[in-house]
């Protein structure tokens, strides 16, 4: 009962990360003048992606303390529906999605879930696919605001669902204007704590073995 709700939110966060990849946060953003052109650009860029490999650094900022909680890991995506989201430090934790299976490896302990047999995981899977294909642009689940500066596009998403909005105030995705790659995603919570995920060493459309999406 509790777990599906938790996973809904977790995957919601993931799915927005997967949507695209690649940017640098800058100030001086103003409202996009040609909204439809930018939406098409993001959507077209998503359709060109068959695989993604990237390292990431996740920084959690809590207003109660000066220290930043930093995690590092690796993200892999391969069409049609294979995802590996792996943390190396400070903890070992992996989420694998392959076809109809959802697997979590927590410090070596493996938990497997059948997406088809679980309505919630099925929904999660659909959300991830939707996000990777760039369909969040037209999603009714977000109030979307598109901003731009000289080098970047900023997609600012406000969740419409009250349960999600209770956890996330805003999601900001920073795209490079030239190639519509994303470098950074920021999740801002109602209390102004926020999580910043920065993607580095990105490789697009390279070969990724299927075994990467399986537990060895």
């Amino acid at each position: 009962m509790m777990q599906p709700k938790i996973f809904l939110i977790i995957t919601f966060i993931f799915s927005t990360c997967f949507a695209s990849m690649f940017a640098q946060q800058e100030s001086g953003f103003t409202a996009v003048t040609n909204t439809q052109a930018i939406k098409d650009q993001i959507r077209n860029a998503s359709t060109r992606v068959s695989s993604i490999q990237s390292d990431f650094i996740q920084k959690k900022h809590l207003t109660m303390m000066d220290e930043v909680l930093t995690s590092e890991g690796r993200f892999l995506f391969k069409k049609e529906n294979q995802v590996r989201w792996e943390y190396f430090a400070p903890i070992n934790y992996i989420i694998l999605i392959k076809n109809q299976n959802f697997t979590i490896v927590n410090e070596g302990k493996v938990s497997k879930f059948d997406i088809e047999g679980n309505k919630m995981f099925k929904e999660i899977n659909n959300m991830i696919l939707t996000a990777i294909q760039g369909n969040f642009i037209d999603s009714e689940e977000f109030d979307l605001e598109l901003l731009e500066n000289e080098n970047q596009i900023l997609a600012r998403l406000k969740p419409m669902d009250s349960q999600v909005a209770n956890m996330l105030k805003t999601i900001e995705i920073y795209f490079n204007k030239a190639d519509t790659d994303i470098n950074q995603v920021v999740f801002i919570e109602p209390g102004d704590d926020y999580t910043n995920i920065e993607f580095t060493h990105k490789l697009i459309n390279t070969t990724i073995e299927d075994s990467e999406f399986e537990i060895k």
């Binding site: 009962m1 509790m2 777990q3 709700k5 938790i6 939110i9 977790i10 966060i13 993931f14 996740q58 959690k60 809590l62 109660m64 303390m65 220290e67 909680l69 995690s71 989201w85 943390y87 400070p90 903890i91 934790y93 927590n106 410090e107 938990s111 349960q163 209770n166 956890m167 999740f187 919570e189 109602p190 209390g191 704590d193 999580t195």
Partner: protein, 225 residues
């Protein structure tokens, strides 16, 4: 039935009840401190599970509740200026499960929920999370009476707090490292916490929390030193 008893029998009846209650309570306490000698009661105490100079303690945490698993990082932050502890439990991807604050009050303990995800907002879960974490951060009302115990054979110490009709008992070594905490009703142990602390560290490296009902368990392993 009680009303029909002669007055002198009624007094004896009450005395017997009081003796029975005292016996049950003392047996419960004695189980924890069976090898300890009770010292004189005092008010105020300097014992702390987190006695290190550090103000931030980060633990890899696995929590199981009603057979479901939650995992991530637990951050305990001493807020010196407010004489309180802020305790935040986060998932691996940075999502908060809860964000609580525990403060010292004069007559009552102060517990503030800055955030708690909806799935955890059940009375029994909240009650146990609050009590479990308070047992660790030891923020009790200032006027809480404390009973001290001493184990004359090895020098270990014990102390017990009366808290909301329950007893929270702490067992600690001569170097003030707490190794076992129990929360007890008059008849049973409600929660048991085992702690492992390397000498001189001032904060546990490993904390295991077990509750009888609901079946809520936590394992915390420290990742920052």
């Amino acid at each position: 039935m009680i009303a029909k008893l002669p007055k002198y029998l009624f007094s004896r009846y009450l005395a017997a009840l009081a003796m029975l209650a005292l016996l049950v309570f003392s047996q419960c306490t004695n189980k924890v401190f069976k090898e300890f000698v009770q010292l004189s009661p005092e008010v105020g105490n300097s014992l702390s599970v987190f006695s290190s100079d550090s103000t931030t303690f980060i633990y890899r945490t696995n929590m199981s509740i009603y057979g479901q698993e939650l995992s991530g990082l637990m951050v305990l932050k001493k807020l010196m200026e407010r004489d309180s502890y802020r305790v935040v439990f986060l998932s691996e991807i940075g999502m908060k499960y809860f964000d609580f604050e525990f403060s010292n009050g004069i007559k009552a303990d102060v517990f503030e929920v800055h955030y708690c995800m909806e799935a955890l907002q059940r009375e029994q879960i909240m009650k146990h999370l609050k009590n479990n974490i308070r047992m660790l951060v030891m923020n009790y009302p200032e006027d809480t009476s404390i009973t001290y115990f001493e184990n004359s054979s090895n020098g270990d110490m014990g102390l017990s707090y009366g808290h909301e009709g329950k007893t929270n008992a702490y067992l600690f070594s001569k170097d003030q490292a707490v190794y076992h905490i129990l929360r007890q009703s008059k008849t049973q142990t409600i929660c048991s916490i085992h702690l492992q602390t390397q000498k001189g560290k001032g904060a546990p490296d490993r904390i295991e929390i077990h509750n009888r009902r609901p079946k809520l368990n936590m394992l915390l392993t420290r990742i920052n030193q």
